[in-house]
């Protein structure tokens, strides 16, 4: 029998929770909950503890269970409110986080209209309707909100451009093409609280006079699309899309897997059914965008902030943050740290607080953090006291970006990291601008050569020179920022590049061509796991690894129960 104090059980069932194994937990709970309400909710942001279950008691207390296995035992623990398996939010995170935008994520059923309304949902929209459109725009300007997609353009000003236009149709686009590898803030918001994004869009449509709204969402986010579709249907049913004597049409368009479509003019082309290449600006989209109509594009997180501004007022909103960056920011923390996940922090918090206190990374083990994905740059650990705001990050050669934050540990090679990002951007370049199309390819090839141990010192100057030319010679954000990962690593980790090109060594022992693998026989228990695991037969019967055959796949290192196999400097291993 379940504990009678349980009022409702919430299971984190966003796509991250499902991937971690929430489905069997749900199945068991439905079977055994015995009349207690079981809700499938969004994400609480503690990815490292997924699958996660929250129990709300009849006293209103919240009890969390983390890493819940899909077993009878684990589920019984929850139903009995057992102390076993309970999860407490780590102190560092609880004290540093400021949850405003994501307040409802994981606390409401994403597809429930009633749930959202019961939590002040659409109050901001209703307040906006009591104001004139110009007053709403003013309120957003006063709040100091800047675009959360990466560029950081003042949102209210963008709105005022569209509001000032006279046209038979005005178009609003929500950029939900979250393409930066390592970023999942927008996915989480759309999956967990789709109505919050839509409320922000309705307010924007009212303030700017928009007649048609698109949500351009990447097709890789099926759950987000599903939840948004349900939420839009609910809006239509309750006629919230009818205001100011007109009817707003809200259309979801699925992207088709092109990173460049996150750039606004490329997105407009894609929404017109064309190849997603960027356009020359001017004319700016607010002058001539989708099919020539004035068009404004905001990102998911930006729209997600708007209801807060209208609900609590611009002044209260602007009380959080720094001089030039107001409010909170979502970050997707990933990489070499203990507690990856989605966090919401006030602007102005330092990188050290995010990475060490919230993320639980060990300061000794961290080399740098990559902000802004493939468009951003790395920031070395020495500069982690930098406050996180648009302008400070830019001055360091990184960007705020959309909020992907990847922690790079001491065991990672910065040249390889740069090569990886250029591999991404050179493949995603749409091909329109020569410098981006050919330049990123040449940069990538040069980095390939360096990581293969065939680089020369002159390559470093070449990379810097070409990088700056690509910046200047590209039309859109993709090309203008593509060299950032290389230029930033060259700036802060030049010694690693030099080690590769002068000594042909990879100090992090990551570049395969510059690394050997060796077995330390003194600890070996001769269990033969390595020999069995090796896919290429590089390990002899007397436990010697032949580096001429070895592909550096790491299988044996993982297989060895005694941890006797290590990567060593190139040339130190055995060659037969």
């Amino acid at each position: 029998m379940a504990n009678s104090k349980i009022k409702v059980i919430r299971v984190g069932a966003a796509s991250c929770g499902m991937a971690a194994g929430a489905a069997p937990v749900l199945e068991l709970l439905y079977k055994k909950a015995d009349g207690i309400e079981v809700q499938e909710v969004g994400c609480l942001g503690h990815c490292y503890a997924e699958p996660m279950v929250e129990v709300i008691t009849t006293d209103g207390e919240s009890i969390l269970y983390g890493n819940v296995a899909g077993t009878e035992q684990a589920v019984d623990n929850i139903l009995n409110l057992s102390l076993e398996g309970r999860f407490t939010i780590p102190e560092g995170r609880a004290s540093k986080e400021l949850v405003k935008v994501l307040k409802l994520a994981g606390r409401v059923v994403p597809t429930s209209w009633e749930d959202y309304l019961a939590n002040h949902g659409y109050e901001a929209f209703k307040r906006a309707l009591t104001m004139t459109p110009a007053e709403v725009v003013d309120e957003v300007i006063k709040s100091g909100l800047r675009g959360r997609g990466g560029g950081g353009f003042p949102t209210g000003r963008k709105w005022s451009f569209l509001a000032a236009k006279q046209a038979p149709e005005k178009i609003l686009i929500c950029n939900a093409d979250e393409g930066d590898p390592g970023a999942f803030m927008d996915r989480s918001l759309m999956e967990s609280v789709p109505h919050q994004l839509l409320e922000g869009m309705l307010i924007a449509a009212y303030a700017t006079g928009a007649t048609k709204a698109f949500i351009y969402c990447r097709a890789e986010y099926p759950m987000a699309i599903k939840h948004l579709k349900i939420a839009i249907k609910q809006i239509y049913e309750h006629e919230y899309n009818k205001f100011d004597g007109r009817e707003l049409e809200i259309i979801i368009k699925e992207g088709a897997g092109a990173f460049v479509c996150g750039e606004e003019t490329a997105m407009i082309n894609s929404l017109e059914g064309k190849r997603g290449t960027p356009r020359f600006r001017p004319p700016f989209p607010t002058d001539s965008g989708w099919k020539g109509y004035p068009t404004m594009i905001n990102n998911v997180e930006t729209f997600g902030n708007v209801p807060l501004i209208l609900r609590e007022g611009a002044e209260a909103y602007a009380a959080v943050g720094t001089e030039g960056s107001k409010g909170t920011k979502l970050f997707a923390l990933a990489g070499d740290l203990k507690r990856p996940g989605l966090v919401e922090v006030p602007m102005g918090i330092t990188l050290a607080e995010i990475v060490f206190e919230i993320g639980g990374a060990n300061p000794e083990d961290v080399k740098a953090v990559q902000c802004g994905g493939p468009s951003g740059g790395c920031i070395p650990v020495e500069l982690f006291n930098t406050p996180v705001d648009y302008d400070s990050l830019r001055s360091l050669g990184a960007i705020m970006g959309s909020g992907g934050m990847i922690v790079i540990g001491r065991k990672r090679c910065m040249v390889e990291t740069a090569r990886y990002f250029l591999d991404f951007t050179h493949r995603e370049s749409c091909g329109k601008c020569t410098f981006c199309r050919v330049g990123t390819k040449r940069m990538f090839e040069t980095l390939e050569r360096i990581t293969a141990g065939k680089g020369e010192e002159a390559d470093l100057d070449f990379l810097e020179d070409l990088g700056n030319k690509i910046r200047k010679g590209s039309l859109c954000g993709l090309g203008q920022t593509a060299p950032n990962p290389v230029l930033a690593t060259l700036r802060y980790f030049r010694n690693e590049y030099l080690a590769h090109v002068v000594n042909h060594q990879c100090e992090a022992l990551e570049c395969n061509a510059l690394t050997d693998v060796m077995l330390d026989k003194s600890n070996c228990v001769k269990c033969r796991m390595c020999i069995k695991t090796c896919p290429v037969g590089a390990i002899s019967d007397d436990f010697v690894i032949n580096n001429n055959i070895c592909t550096r796949c790491n299988s044996c290192i993982e297989a060895c129960p005694k941890k006797t196999i290590h990567r060593v400097k190139g040339g130190e291993g055995v060659r037969l």
Partner: protein, 150 residues
Amino acid sequence: MGNYSYLSTIEPESSNLIKALQLVQAREGYVSDEAIVAVAEYFSLAPVEVEGVLSFYAQFKRTKPGKYEIAVCDGTACHIKGTPAVLKWVSGELGIADGETDKDGFFSLVTVACLGCCSLAPVMSINGKVYGQLDRKKVLRILKEYRNNG
């Protein structure tokens, strides 16, 4: 000739071209030459214009995928945590490279930019079901399970 009458659920307006191609792919698993001609006719475009748009977007496949499509994530977090190794294990086991389908049409293999489950890196998905925190054993076990279950 295949039957593409389902296209009529979409208005033949140029901004719907990508949507139509997505529908074709959802129905057939890929976009064949024949489908391109049918879509072009439906939208009153030249086949080359349709192919121009289609070839721009990574989502569209021009070869028939296997019954189970393995998508190995090569997002930043996964890459750092070992995508190259995951790819090697999968393609070593199945004898196919990125973008290929095996001989009996059972498995196909692609790499994708990011599945958005970075905290579970390295990650792959099979027909949309995501598997996280992969190591070699886990990958081989998963592939075996699919084989055994047919």
